[in-house]
Amino acid sequence: MSSSSSSISSDDEPNSNPKPVDDELSLASVTLNESNGNGSVNVNENENNRQDGGEIAWGRKNSEVEVEALSSPSSSGYAGERGSSSETTNSRIEDDEIQQVNNDDGFVDGVDHSRASSWVPGKRHVDEDDASISWRKRKKHFFILSHSGKPIYSRYGDEHKLAGFSATLQAIISFVENGGDHVKLVRAGNHQVIFLVKGPIYLVCISCTEEPYESLKGQLELIYGQMILILTKSVNRCFEKNPKFDMTPLLGGTDAVFSSLIHSFSWYPILTNVFVQVEKLDNFSVTGTHVTKTQSCGRNFQGSAKVDYCSSHQTVQASGPIGWNPATFLHAYTCLPLAYATRQAAGAILQDVADSGVLFALLMCKNKVISLVGAQKASLHPDDMLLLSNFVMSSESFRQVELILIDSTTSECFSPICLPRYNPMAFLYAYVHYFDDDTYLMLLTTSSDAFYHLKDCRIRIETVLLKSNVLSEVQRSLLEGGMRVEDLPLDPLPRSSISHRMSQQRLLTDSPERFRESSVGIGGPAGLWNFIYRSIYLDQYVSSEISSPINSHQQQKRLYRAYQKLYSSMHEKGIGPHRTQFRRDENYVLLCWVTPDFELYAAFDPLADKALAIKTCNRVCQWVKDVENEIFLQGASPFSW
């Protein structure tokens, strides 16, 4: 795969410049040939044709066909080894299914590039189906279907209209399985088709975003996990009873959950003028109660959707967008920066309720952890945390705190949820309560009748949080944001506190510091633009705030994908510990350093000096160490049991 990021697609939306015809995907034209070569069976219809021993003809116009299926270790036959293309010898190229795409084909459909700040939860483009040109031009499709070919979920378009298309996908999968093999990946020009089979549930991603196979497969795994979180794995039993079981009604009303998860697979910028908003700090009154001005952004869903409800100067986005969620590929979680004592106070009260029969108690702010505690021996996987927080944040019914402050009208939710990594077969019960627009408490229990107990726990927790000012500290941290590359200490002096930095370091005028005030877009020392530090032991990561050199939507998304690729390349099988990678292209210098204790991913100015960049990475590591008590949840990690 090319490492030149000029070819990294920066968008899941339809190409703004229509591509030549041969880039168009034409899955609908897949035909199955019987091995004796007699005739071909078209599987566009909703029938379940299964045939032994045949070839898949990947029909595309004006391009050579390349079928690259990664075979399972035990497999024999079908797709052969990676990179083999001998299977394509019998392929037939189908021309007829591909439609001409013109500039004026009218799929403008209201998608403009300002959508970055106007993302609306839920499904878009429901009117589309596989015959729509606009649908075919989408850069990244996700499908869930059943083993009988019934559609369950599609990112774009109406599932029911995609029945034929789903049947086609099912036919491909079962065709290969009938040969005793598994299809993992099909490459067709720019497109990759990734398959994931989970019992009776099939997941497929069709993408031309050039993300690595491992990343896309990981995304399918997360989508599957999200489905399990909603339904548990016992949904499989429905298929045992009735293979043609229609699962779509069971997922009714969850479009927003899936679409927000899929959104977090990409860099999703919110507002670019982060610094401007931070400067508003002085005007912002953080009061001793959990009611702050931020509540006037009552419905500020996922940070930026419905931004129009908020008056802009009160928007709190400094801590980075929700879409900046490397957790989707790092398999680690991140914490809201807080003074050690503040986090301890929150942890103590959570521990208190955990001892009273609560399985997990999580206090979170957006997608960042304030504190979390698990009952003894219970461990919570970072992926479960990601899926759980996505579920809660994307389901608006949880957040009905609104502006009503009358005691009797706060709403609480009690819902069955399943943690796929904890126990995919059983429901837990989640009590969810928002203290303010961003901060919410989740108490998980195995007992279906624990609501009133959990309600009491919440009241106790709330009292303590208010008394120890945790909630106001959370709001403050949200405004101040996390680590900024501009603040990377030049000298090795230990800095004990981020907030210290906030007040003092601006006065210690390092040269880049001074520049930052005058000219926006300089980044940190030695051209450092961004970094992610992942602590292996803690299962946590910290990433620097978006700095101005990577301000634009395109740049952010590109960097996100570059990190993703970097991560993927560093985690290929058979690579030992202690690895570094230094890569330079026209967009940036990427430096990655993987050790048994931590991983560091850093992006620099493309002209950055290598030696200096390495030195800077060392300084970043030192900096992270210096402030680890504030950026990481220490000690009571439930993962170490």
């Binding site: 039993r237 069971l250 019914s397 009208t409 709403s411 609480e412 939710c413 949820i417 279906s448």
Partner: protein, 223 residues
Amino acid sequence: MGCASSIPDKSSGRSGGLNNLDNGGAPDAKNLRVKLVLLGDSGVGKSCIVLRFVRGQFDPTSKVTVGASFLSQTIALQDSTTVKFEIWDTAGQERYAALAPLYYRGAAVAVIVYDITSPESFTKAQYWVKELQKHGSPDIVMALVGNKADLQDSREVPAQDGIDYAEKNGMFFIETSAKTADNINQLFESVSVQLSCSRKLLSDFPVHPCLIHDCGLLKLLKY
């Protein structure tokens, strides 16, 4: 539906469930605490009814309820009785149907909602009535509510159908509109009056509080 592996055991009766209230409230006839559950198909407007009642708001953007939301609201009746409603606003989605006993068990009032523009939702309402007759507490007060009454033009369920069905099943019937606030307060007031009447009846008898739990006793007292 087979996807709910932790369905509460129906045989456990009243001892489990989301119910720390006495059956319908403390035996203080002046200050009732009432557990009320809303049931019905998804999208009929259960949450909108609750939001209109509790906050006097209407939000036209549909927010799908997850699991169930818990809200409370206190109203005062003319005879200075106060009724504190502890409301379980359940999700209408099919996947939550198996979990409904968790929310309606021990409820004193069940408000079953359908959408007057949707015959399917009326059928679903009848399903809930049957379910409650089978598994709910025998003395539960049931109200049948036809919501979205402002959409007269697209009405598909005649009011008479609702009236007939409610009468046949000994239920209270009302058509409401959460959007225009029509009949919302009336719904809860009527329910309260109905409850307080049975309470008053109760308090006339020197019944030991724990006997109130006895199935059928309330019903007995009503006659």
